[in-house]
Structure formats: C-alpha cells, structure tokens
C-alpha cells in the first residue's frame, strides 16, 4: 500500500495513443513513458518518493512555490502532448505506488476512462477572460459642489451612473459567455482568479473555459475577436488563451460533467 522502495508513479494524463508521438521530459527531467492497460494509455514518470511521495505532498499542500514547480512541469508535459494528440488531463496529485498497481486500476476503470477520453477527442480547451480595464470617467469631479445638497445630489448621481454601468457590463459579459458557449461543444464558467496568483489587478469579470473542436478554433477566435471589439466600448477587454489540454472538461461519466452545458 505504501510507496514501493524509493519511487512513486506520477501520472500526467490519458492520451489517444498513436505512433510517432514525441514524448517530452517530465517532472525534474524524469523520462515520460506510456503505460497501457487495455484501451487506455497513460503518460507517467517514475519519481523519487523522497521528492514526490504522499508525505511530501502533504507537507507542501499549501506551499505555493512547491506546487508551482510541480504544476508547471505536469502541465508542460500535457501541453506538449496536446499539440500532437488528444489528451485527458489527470488531476494533481495523481500518484501511484508502482506501474503494476496503476495498470490494475486502469484495467478496472477502463470503460469509464475510455469514455471520458472519447468525450474530448478532437477537442482542445480555450480559456476566455474578461477584464474591466476602464471604469469610465467621472464627469463632475473637477467642479466643486456648490452646496451640501449639491454634493449629495452628485454622490447620488454618481452612484446611479456606476450602478447602471455595472449592470450593463454584466449583461454584456453574460452575452459574451453565451456567444462563446455557442461556438463550442461545452462551456464552463469558473470563479475569477485571485490577483495575487494571476498577477492581474484589473477586476476579472469572466473566467471561462470552452471545449472547442480543433477544426473550429479559428471560428471561435473570430467570435472572440468580435466580442472583444464590442466590449471595448464599455471599458472591457477579452483575452483568449489556449489551446489548453481540456482540463475543464475532464470527467468520468460518474462525475458530474463539469462542462455540461445544454
């Protein structure tokens, strides 16, 4: 049950296996290999338990630097693969005592795993975020109020203006999400990100992901560009990122499908 002598098997993701895949380097340069069980192919690296065993994970659960180190490398493998074939990401930490045990559990869950991979075949994930970059001018700040009443009236007018602008932006953002959802197979909206992690200080009004057929990426981007232009007038900007491995759309049939959308 506990990790076999010295190593653990770190699993990156399922792939649609095909010849001539070029496998990238894994965590800390460890070789990435493919473990096959029935119809399922999983990318793995054997890592030192001393560095990546369960105890280490527990110890670093809230250590952003350590997590970043692992997360970036884990992601880099999947990113390299999504450019060659379809990928179904595994969540971190997905570690197994040894290859034999992994093969066993893969065999047991083959049907569900194959179905989960099939759900994203031919697709990539595109991310879209809307930021508020310009809240709009405050028309009467230069002129001093002439009386207390005037001051209060201005405060009130300003509050109304801000509220109207806010509602308008919100409606535009939801429309944007809807349009992009239409241009995709599935869509999911996530909570806005913490500025401390994203490095973005502008308010994030939308943080969404879309499962897009590879051959329709250009169409999606065209829709996004149109939306971006539409949002600009209201001080907002749309950013599309990708193609990502379809993290947001990876689910076994037993799970609630995160990307379910109509």
């Amino acid at each position: 049950m506990s990790a076999a002598e010295g190593t653990v098997v770190h699993a990156y993701g399922l792939i649609a296996d095909r010849p001539a895949l070029s496998l990238p380097g894994g965590v800390d340069g460890a070789p990435v290999t493919i473990v096959r069980a029935g119809e399922v192919s999983v990318l793995v690296s054997e890592l030192s338990a001393k560095d990546y065993g369960p105890e280490v994970w527990r110890a670093h659960a809230e250590d952003p630097q350590w997590l970043e180190h692992v997360a970036r490398q884990h992601h880099a493998v999947l990113q390299a693969m999504v450019e060659q074939t379809d990928v179904l990401p595994l969540r971190l930490p997905g570690i197994h005592p040894d290859v034999a045990t992994l093969e066993e559990v893969l065999g047991e869950q083959e049907t569900a795993l194959v179905r989960a991979l099939e759900a994203v075949l031919g697709h990539v994930e595109l991310g879209a975020k809307v930021f508020l970059v310009d809240e709009g001018s405050k028309p009467d700040t230069e002129q001093r109020p002439t009386s207390g009443r005037d001051y209060l009236a201005r405060r009130s007018a300003e509050a109304t203006r801000r509220e109207d602008a806010r509602l308008r932006r919100q409606s535009l953002v939801l429309d944007a999400h809807e349009s992009m959802a239409h241009a995709s197979t599935h869509a999911v909206a996530n909570p806005p990100q913490d500025p401390a992690l994203s490095g973005r200080t502008e308010p994030m009004l939308l943080n969404a992901a879309y499962l897009v057929p590879r051959e329709r990426m250009d169409d999606f981007v065209a829709v996004a560009e149109q939306i971006h232009e539409g949002l600009a007038a209201d001080g907002m900007t749309l950013e599309v990122s990708g193609p990502w491995p379809p993290y947001n759309f990876a689910a076994t049939p037993d799970d609630t499908m995160v990307g379910q959308d109509g």
Partner: protein, 138 residues
C-alpha cells in the same frame, strides 16, 4: 505524418495549434506566459481522478487556487442566467459585507458634513465654500 492513424477527427489536417496559450484581444501587450493562476486552477482543481491513486487529496489547495474577486456582480442576474459559480463561497459574502460597510461609512461622512455645516452656519464662519474643507476627505 501520423494522421492516417488518428482516432476520430483529431488534428484533421489543421495546422498544429500554436504552442502554448496565445492571447487575442490584447495584441498590444504581446504574448504572456501562462500565468500561475491559470495553471493551478486547472492542474489542481480540474482533471480526472483515477480512483485508487494514493490518497493525498488536498482540500486546502483550493484555497490557493480560487479566491473570488467579483467586483462587478449581481448575484441575481447571474443566477437567472444559470451562472452561480460563486454561490457558497464565503469570500463573496464578505464582499457584500464590505459594500454594506462602504455605505455605512458614506452615511457617517454625510452626517458629519451636515453636522459641520450646521455648526459653521450657526457660527457664521462660512458662506458657500465648504468644498475646500471637504477636499481632503476625498
């Protein structure tokens, strides 16, 4: 070259996707590296779980990945649209509380100003230039 064996329609003759996320809509800013929030959000919070892996599910990690910072949100409107991702997140309630506090603070300041005006008028100190005193208070 390996397209003949592609399952389904994967990479159906399209050029390979650009490497790494590219950003549209912010061309001025140039390419940005994948930000940490994007990666952690996906890698730690999404993705499939193979039942039977070593159980080190780390609930606390979610604290690192997701902090709702909804400055502009009408919960009602979003709920109508079926978008309610922040529901149940304590962070949002604290935002709402903050708005309450802001309003209370504004009210306090208005009251204080009115008080000062009344006093000033009573003492005949000022005619119509209270704005100068108000300035430093924002």
């Amino acid at each position: 070259m390996d397209h003949s064996t592609s399952p389904e329609r994967a990479t159906s003759g399209q050029p390979t996707p650009r490497s790494g996320p590219t950003f549209v809509g912010t061309r001025g800013g140039g390419q940005q590296p994948q930000n940490l929030a994007d990666i952690l959000e996906r890698v730690l919070d999404k993705g499939i779980v193979i039942v039977g892996d070593i159980q080190v599910r780390l609930l606390d990690i979610e604290l690192l990945t997701i902090k709702i910072r909804l400055l502009v949100a009408s919960v009602d409107r979003a709920r109508e649209m079926g978008i309610n991702w922040w529901e149940g997140d304590p962070f949002v309630s604290s935002l709402e509380e903050k708005e309450e506090e802001d309003r209370a603070e504004l009210q306090r300041r208005v009251d204080a100003l009115e008080q000062r005006l009344t006093e000033a008028e009573g003492a005949g100190q000022i005619q119509a230039t209270p704005a100068e005193q108000r300035d430093e208070r924002g």
